[in-house]
């Protein structure tokens, strides 16, 4: 506890226009309470201004009370620093002054300010108002209202001091203050080296950018080189091939190996031709041999046939004798059969005569019977015919009458209707007509004239009904015209005339004069019809099939009768048969006898025919046998034939001899051919021919190949492959050099970055050790089991603690709630204070309205922290909630401006 404020006095500072003094500030905790606007923050500001602002500055206008532009804010602080009592007096804006008494020394102005700054660990702004980055240790430990959570910047600004404290304090372990400085320089260097490393390597150490390109270039050149090598190799092999081909070609030109082959080929072809001739000869011989063989066969057959003919003559002599004998036998048999036939025929003729006689008798009896029956039937039919013809005549007459009287019921009915209509119309006309009654003197005659009516001479008394205009000529008087006036009169007259017309027409059609005539005729006609029915019945009785059928039957019967009579007449008069003999029975006997005689004749006939046929056959055989014998005998006796036989025998001998000779030759030739193997010789020809072709073609091809190669090589030569290769080689050497240089640089950079990072981390860990220890001391009060890491800037890094489920969780404190951040911020500051204290640096904690965002439980924990810290450091705590801090064991001192 090397810095201890003991008294604070302010005057003309904001709320405190009048002097305000806090005395008796204690080591450890000092609690000040006041409502909002009571001036708590003003006091804090006054302390800061006294230390951080140059007394000569003009940028502290905010210290003046409101509306008091002439005020000269002044602050007076009594303190104890490293065992010496001191007092700082500062007056701003007007009569500016700074005075520091420390122990026995008194310093004024900037000298005093610089001394304090060095001892307390802060700096002044070169120009203008002092800012947080100048505040150093106090900036870290004097927490302004609402900034308790903002620890990183404050820690950053105090970093040198913290480093110093760490080096000087318990954690140093042999390192010195300069080491800490080097580490900070090292950060810049490391960043730079990392940047350089990043130009060549990725984060994971893989080549990139220039290095990757250099490596790729080497690979690509390798490939180019390989390709060129290959092309050059191909080129060289082609050159060698060309050389070989040229030599081979020259050798061929010299030796011409195909010529020997050609000679062999000619020889083989000759041999083959000879063999083919031989083969042809053999074939011809074989054909000739076959011909001879056939000739021999024919000759042998000829000779044999001649022999057979000679043998045949004798056979034919015998045959001729035999057939002659057979013919004679048949001749006798035929004669005998003919005689038997004649006898049988005689017997048959007798039987036939008897049979005929009896048949005639029987026939005549039958004809007589038929004649009688026919005559009877004729007479019956004649009667019926006569009666039927009479009935038919009657019927015809009746029908003629009926036809003349024919009048249909319909016509009569029409007539009746027309008559009735006519009468009705006449009645209606008369009713409507003008009646003219005349009673003329005798002798007076009037002439009545009307259209369409004949003039009528009237005399005496008459009644006239006038239906149309009528002129009455009265002689001597003139003319009287009467026009009937009934309305329908004309129409009625017309209808009446029409009906009258029809009536007259109907009467004319019916051929009657009036209706009664018609009625009479209708009755007459009906009577005639009845009579016709009776006549028809009478006719049907006589001639049911009609009169014509009856007439035909009668004619037929007459014809039949005439026929029978003619037949009987034909038979004529015959001896009257023996009445004791029934002609029918006799006829049957006679017919039976005749049939037997006929059968005998037939049998004899057959036998005779057979004998005749046998005779004919025997005769033919005899004739043929004789002919054959005669012909053969003649043939055999022919001298030419004998000469031919002799010739054939001779020919046979010759042909056999030639054939045998040929057979021998064939055998020899075939054997020779088989030994010479013509198929093989033919193969030789083919083989040698192909070889010659192949050799000459190969020679030709080689020449072409040489030309092609020459062209290719000339082309390839012009490409300067060796130059290209040399070029690629050089490129490769340079590319490898560059790759190696870059790789070495990358290796070196990687090594430097790694080593620097490791060493820096080790140094940091060394530095962080004591701070971590202090942090942990306080943290355990808030979060038991939790740990808080310290980052490279010596600020709290990550918090590791158990969550609600007992799992470990780690996170940056920035992610925590505002309240928790404020709590951790305060804990960190307490740790810094402890650390600085260990290093003998002045520590003073000022908390302006701290921890207002903490809940009751956390606040309770934090109060334990504060109480603990207050055991080692002076703590000034300003609050507007004094009730929250009752359990800190100190009395809250109220603040209010006078």
């Amino acid at each position: 506890m090397t810095l201890l404020l003991t008294r604070l006095k302010v005057e003309q500072v904001r709320k405190f226009r009048q002097p305000f003094e806090l005395t008796g500030l204690q080591p450890g905790l000092n609690l000040f309470s006041g409502d909002n606007e009571a001036g708590k923050s003003t006091l804090v500001r006054a302390i800061r201004a006294a230390f951080f602002e140059r007394h000569g500055t003009n940028v502290v206008e905010d210290l003046r009370p409101w509306g008091d532009a002439g005020a000269t804010p002044q602050v007076e602080i009594d303190f104890r620093l490293d065992g010496e009592d001191g007092q700082l007096f500062k007056r701003f804006l007007g009569k500016k002054r700074c005075q520091l008494r420390l122990g026995s020394r008194t310093l004024e102005g900037t000298e005093a300010e610089d001394l304090l700054a060095e001892r307390l660990g802060y700096a002044y702004a070169a120009k203008g108002a002092s800012k947080t980055e100048h505040w150093g240790i106090p900036g870290l430990l004097w927490i302004e209202q609402g900034s308790g959570q903002d620890i990183h910047d404050a820690a950053g600004h105090a970093r040198e001091h913290l480093h110093g404290a760490l080096q000087r304090g318990g954690g140093g372990q042999g390192a010195d203050a300069v080491g800490a400085l080097a580490a900070s320089a090292g950060d810049g260097l490391l960043a730079r080296l990392l940047e350089r490393r990043g130009e060549l390597l990725t984060g994971t150490g893989k080549p990139r950018a220039a290095l990757a390109e250099a490596i790729e270039r080497v690979v690509s050149l390798d490939e180019q080189r390989r390709e060129l090598d290959q092309r050059i190799d191909t080129y060289r092999r082609q050159v060698d091939l060309l050389d070989a081909l040229r030599r081979a070609h020259a050798a061929d030109e010299r030796e011409r190996p195909w010529q020997a082959l050609e000679r062999d080929l000619v020889q083989a072809r000759g041999k083959l031709a000879a063999l083919q001739d031989s083969q042809r000869q053999l074939t011809q011989d074989q054909q000739r041999h076959a011909g001879l063989q056939a000739q021999v066969g024919l000759l042998q057959q000829q000779i044999q046939a001649a022999q057979q003919q000679a043998d045949g003559l004798q056979r034919r002599e015998v045959e001729q004798a035999r057939t002659q004998s057979a013919r004679e036998t048949a001749d006798a048999a035929a004669q005998q059969a003919r005689e038997r036939l004649e006898a049988a025929q005689a017997l048959a003729a007798q039987a036939a005569a008897l049979s005929a006689r009896w048949r005639a008798q029987a026939s005549r009896a039958e004809q007589l019977r038929q004649q009688r029956e026919l005559q009877a039937a004729q007479s019956t039919r004649q009667v019926a015919l006569t009666q039927a013809e009479a009935a038919a005549a009657t019927l015809a007459r009746l029908r003629a009458q009926a036809g003349a009287r024919a009048l249909s019921d319909e016509v009569v009915k029409t007539l009746r209707q027309l008559d009735a209509r006519r009468r009705e119309l006449a009645t209606r006309r008369d009713a409507a007509a003008t009646r003219l009654a005349l009673d003329l003197l005798p002798g007076v005659t009037l002439t009545l004239q009307a259209d369409g009516v004949a003039d009528q001479a009237l005399s005496g008394t008459s009644r006239q009904v006038l239906v149309r205009p009528t002129t009455l000529d009265i002689p001597g008087f003139g003319r009287l015209t009467i026009s009937p006036g009934g309305q329908d009169l004309d129409e009625l007259a017309r209808q009446l005339a029409d009906t009258d017309g029809r009536w007259q027409a109907a009467l004319a059609q019916a051929g009657v004069a009036d209706l009664s005539g018609a009625e009479q005729r209708l009755a007459q006609h009906a009577d005639l019809l009845r009579q016709i029915g009776l006549a028809e019945q009478a006719l049907a009785l006589q001639a049911p099939q009609g009169i014509d059928a009856l007439r035909q039957a009668q004619a037929e019967g007459a014809a039949r009768l005439a026929q029978v009579e003619a037949a009987r007449a034909l038979i004529g008069d015959m001896a009257e048969p023996d009445p004791s003999v029934d002609p029918i029975v006799a006829l049957a006997q006679a017919e039976s006898d005749q049939k037997a005689a006929d059968a005998a004749v037939q049998r004899a006939q057959q036998a005779s025919t057979t004998a005749g046929q046998q005779l004919a056959a025997a005769t033919t055989a005899e004739v043929q046998a004789r002919h054959e014998r005669d012909a053969l005998a003649a043939l055999l006796a022919d001298p030419e034939r004998q000469a031919q036989a002799a010739k054939a025998a001779h020919q046979l001998l010759e042909a056999s001899a030639e054939r045998d000779a040929l057979a021998l030759r064939i055998e020899q030739t075939a054997q020779a051919l088989a030994q010479a193997r013509p198929a093989i010789v033919e193969q030789d020809v083919q083989r040698l021919g192909a070889s010659v072709t192949q050799q000459t073609r190969a020679h030709q091809q080689r020449r072409e190949q040489i030309l092609v190669l020459e062209t290719q090589l000339a082309e390839a030569g012009a490409q300067g492959l060796d130059e290209q290769l040399a070029h690629v080689d050089g490129e490769q050497v340079r590319a490898i050099a560059r790759r190696d240089q870059l790789q070495r640089r990358a290796d070196a950079l990687a090594l430097l970055c790694r080593e620097l990072a490791e060493r820096r981390a080790a140094t940091l860990a060394q530095l962080q050790g004591p701070l971590t220890r202090h942090l942990q001391h306080h943290l355990a009060l808030l979060f038991p089991q939790a740990t808080l890491s310290v980052d490279a800037r010596l600020a709290p890094g990550e918090l590791t603690r158990a969550d609600a489920h007992g799992r470990t969780e780690t996170g940056a404190i920035d992610a925590l709630s505002f309240g928790a951040r404020e709590q951790l911020g305060l804990i960190a500051r307490c740790a810094y204070a402890d650390l600085l204290l260990e290093a003998g640096r002045p520590t003073l904690l000022i908390l302006d309205d701290a921890l207002v965002h903490s809940d009751a439980q956390r606040l309770a924990q934090m109060k334990r922290v504060l109480y603990d810290v207050a055991q080692r450091h002076q703590v000034l705590l300003f609050t507007c909630h004094p009730e929250d801090w009752r359990d800190l064991g100190v009395q809250a001192r109220p603040i209010h401006p006078a």
Binding site: G179, A183, L193, D243, D722, A726, E731, R745
Partner: protein, 375 residues
């Protein structure tokens, strides 16, 4: 008295592609420029012929342009040039030579000896026996036929071959393309002009390697010359004189810096470098920060003034002194790290880690110096 120039291993078309193009292109061009100088030299020396003992081209597949440029360069001298192919430009079935002929760029006075048969140049009294390589590598002695080759009396018998003389250069050169060491004697040659060995080398009085006329290696072996050979008459001993033809000086500088004055010596060397120097510099040892700064400056100066400066500082360690560290204001853990790196870079049991530590230390120092100068 016939005299001729003997040269070889022109290696036209060589690219030096591993150098940055701004240095590689002039060096490649220098090889053709050198042929121009040879032509000029031939004229100046009034020789009867120029013999080129193989490896005229660096590769078969050089570009057509390169082929044309070579023959253009040779056009400066119209006397007889006699060329044989070497292992780089062997007379294969298809080769740079067939291409040159196809391009029609070979003038009549340039004799390409692509087959092993005598080339008689009676006008100048020479009978040339060439041993051209017709394969890339042979393991038989192509000069063997020289022994039995007949040449007209009165003409000098000059052999022309490309390969390694057996028993003398075995360790240095591929054993392919062998040449009997006593070939000149056995084949009764007046002179055997050899190529393949890039340095100038006398095998015996009649057998010489001319070396490449324009140096191309950091090896001080007498390259950059051509030989003028004078032979009084057949059988007479040749008079051989080396004439400078090269332009660029190829130098390898190795410096080990142990004490502060070592650096002074190196810096003096660097400051002495000239425009045609092609330098391969390897520095090892340790330097404090101040010395390192001086070296860096000197290197920047040297790089600007010479043709090419190849650097290998892999074996050079930065070793800040305690004063350096104090001056860097590197204290605390930073200081600890520098001390640790300083120790680690000297570890011999883990060279890779030591190298990284050295690099890291250099980097860190540079960064701190930057920071210091910035603040």
């Amino acid at each position: 008295m016939p005299c001729f120039l003997h040269t070889a291993d022109w290696q036209i078309g060589r690219l030096y592609a591993s150098l940055p193009p701004e240095n590689a292109v002039p060096l490649a061009d220098a090889r053709i420029a050198c042929v121009e100088r040879l032509a000029a030299l031939a004229a100046e020396q009034a020789v009867d012929a120029v013999l080129v003992a193989g490896d005229v081209f660096d590769a078969q597949n050089v570009s057509d342009r390169t082929v044309r440029r070579l023959f253009n360069a040779m056009a400066r001298w119209t006397g007889p040039w006699v060329l044989i192919p070497g292992n780089h430009d062997a007379a294969l079935a298809e080769s740079v030579w067939t291409r040159a002929r196809r391009l029609g760029v070979v003038p009549d006075h340039v004799h390409l000896c692509l087959t092993p048969e005598p080339l008689l140049l009676p006008d100048i009294g020479l009978a040339l026996l060439p041993a051209p390589l017709t394969q890339r590598h042979t393991h038989s002695d192509l000069t063997a036929w020289f022994d039995a080759a007949e040449t007209p009396a009165g003409l000098l018998r000059i052999g022309l071959a490309h390969g390694s003389v057996q028993g003398l250069l075995a360790e240095e050169i591929d054993s392919a393309n062998p040449i009997a060491p006593d070939r000149a004697e056995r084949a009764r040659l007046d002179y055997l002009a050899l190529g393949d060995w890039h340095g100038c080398k006398r095998i015996d009085a009649r057998t010489w390697y001319a070396g490449t006329p324009e140096p191309d290696r950091h090896k001080d072996n007498g390259s950059g010359q051509a030989l003028r050979v004078d032979i009084a008459a057949p059988g007479a001993e040749p008079q051989v004189r080396a004439l400078a033809t090269g332009r660029h000086r190829w130098r390898a500088i190795e410096a080990t810096l142990a004490v502060p004055s070592d650096l002074d010596g190196l810096l003096a060397q660097l400051d002495a470098l000239a425009a045609d120097d092609v330098v391969d510099l390897r520095v090892s040892g340790a330097l404090d920060l101040a010395a390192h700064g001086r070296l860096r400056e000197a290197l920047a100066r040297a790089e600007a003034c010479c043709r090419h400066l190849g650097l290998d500082l892999a074996a050079l360690r930065l070793s800040p002194t305690d004063e350096d560290i104090a001056a860097l204001k590197a204290d605390g853990y930073l200081g600890e790290l520098i001390v640790a790196l300083r120790e680690r870079q000297s570890r011999e049991d883990d060279p890779a880690a030591a190298r990284i530590a050295a690099d890291a230390l250099a980097l860190l120092s540079a960064e701190l110096q930057d920071l210091g100068s910035a603040s």
